[in-house]
């Protein structure tokens, strides 16, 4: 580790590693710091990833992480009614996140970035209203590292942006509390994602069964951070106890986590600082997926960082280019998806059962991508008590 870099990236998840790789490919001197001893672990993720997402990001599928093909999904209403969609081609994978994250960090290193695990950023160096560097704790030593730009990719537990005056606090109404098992269990349809909805099953969220092979699955739950006095673990254990064959599943891994499901931050930059990924609340608020969003934002942040440093201007005004381009590409759609989440969380189980009768699987997948919301609004309008929710969608 040197005393000074062009860019210091805090956090080696998909957002941080993509930022670091792209910035290094543009010739910048980059330091990528991860506080945990192992990049990619523990995972806090359902591990779904789409073929289209990989294409958009230019990430080449690698058999070390594309461990199971996904061709469609079953969405299960509270009354058990299944709304299914199976496409004519493969649409995604369930991935091995630990390997995915590690390979992204390896790519960043190969591009020339310096990567350091178990190195924790404990403070920022501020001067004249600019972020000028970070304080790092590494194996008992405390060091100061200068940076022209610091990238806060420190995830759901984000603090870096807050130290610089951007309020990235995860409000309880806008975070899901999540819990998850990886288990060995015989699966009926190993190429389909299963999602179970219901206010008693998972208030403001869902239970997922994402197959990682014919007899291994990522089985998890997300519930609203503010909606219950019971824990995510209690909800998931109750669901598993009631559902064969999962109640006989052999648990090989246990994880917990928080999923930002609010609107994206109103401002992604400050003087000498860019915020990326979960820290910037760049997540799909309906399904909670963040790997694509963080990676996309990170690549953009890396390009803008290179431009800013080439021009010798790391002011907020210059870095706003990242904010503007991100909002045009992803911000508006994520905001629409956030509004959809706010509408859907008002629905009772009876409403959800009614929706399941009216909708196709294609509809549900479209909604999750922020599309066909007019159709959803029309269906909600037919129920007088949902007119308010419907109007919020328009």
């Amino acid at each position: 580790m040197k005393d000074a870099y062009d860019v210091v990236v805090v956090g080696a998840g998909p957002g941080g590693s993509n930022t670091a790789r792209v910035a290094a490919e543009h010739g910048l001197e980059v330091l990528l710091l991860e506080k945990r001893p192992e990049i990619g672990a523990p995972k806090r993720c359902g591990e779904g990833f789409s073929v289209n997402g990989a294409k958009t990001l230019g990430i080449k599928p690698d058999p070390r992480w594309t461990i199971n093909e996904i061709w469609g999904a079953n969405i299960v209403a509270p009354n058990g009614r299944r709304v299914s969609v199976r496409y004519e081609k493969q649409v995604g994978w369930v991935i091995e996140r630990k390997m995915f994250d590690k390979l992204l960090a390896i790519e960043a290193a190969r591009a020339g970035a310096e990567v350091l695990a178990r190195s924790e950023v404990v403070g920022l160096v501020m001067q004249d209203g600019f972020v000028r560097g970070v304080e790092v704790e590494r194996h008992g030593e405390r060091l100061t590292v200068e940076a022209k730009i610091v990238v806060a990719a420190d995830g759901v537990e984000s603090k870096v942006a807050r130290w610089a005056g951007i309020d990235s606090t995860q409000r309880l109404v806008d975070i899901d509390s999540a819990y998850q098992y990886e288990m060995v269990v015989d699966l009926e349809e190993p190429d389909m994602l299963d999602l179970y909805f219901g206010n008693d099953i998972a208030p403001r969220g869902y239970v997922w069964v994402f197959p990682k092979g014919k007899d291994v699955a990522n089985v998890g739950i997300g519930i609203g951070g503010n909606v219950s006095t019971r824990t995510a673990k209690q909800y998931l254990d109750e669901w598993i106890a009631k559902h064969e064959p999962f109640n006989e599943g052999r648990i090989i891994e246990v994880n917990a986590g928080g999923v930002p499901v609010g609107a994206p931050l109103e401002k992604l930059v400050a003087n000498g600082l860019m915020v990326v990924g979960d820290a910037a609340h760049q997540v799909n608020a309906i399904h909670g997926g963040g790997v694509f969003e963080a990676s996309f934002a990170g690549q953009l942040a890396g390009r803008v960082a290179a431009e800013a440093i080439e021009r010798g201007d790391v002011s907020e005004a210059m870095l706003m280019k990242y904010d503007r381009e991100w909002r045009a590409a992803r911000g508006e759609i994520l905001h629409r998806i956030y509004k959809l989440r706010r509408a859907i969380e008002q629905l009772s189980d009876e409403d959800l059962n009614y929706l399941a009768e009216q909708l196709t699987g294609e509809d549900v997948v479209a909604f999750a991508n922020g599309e066909r919301l007019g159709k959803l609004a029309k269906i909600l309008m037919k129920r007088p008590h949902l007119i308010k929710a419907a109007k919020e969608l328009m």
Partner: protein
């Protein structure tokens, strides 16, 4: 009184660190959750969020 962590239950997921409005929580090395007793206001946000019920009133 500041909140207390039950280390037998805590999974070190870090979600509470992002939730805390007072920057009172730190996940040291990504492993050990520490409550800053000076900053904690006992608001209970972390307790409500925690997926496993690991943060309690003192």
């Amino acid at each position: 009184m500041p909140r207390k962590v039950d280390y037998d239950l805590c999974m070190s997921c870090g979600g509470c660190v992002g939730v805390c409005p007072f920057l009172a929580l730190t996940l040291e090395h990504g492993i050990k959750l520490i409550v800053d007793e000076e900053r904690c206001t006992d608001c209970g946000s972390c307790t409500r969020f925690c997926p496993v019920g690991a943060i309690r009133e003192a």
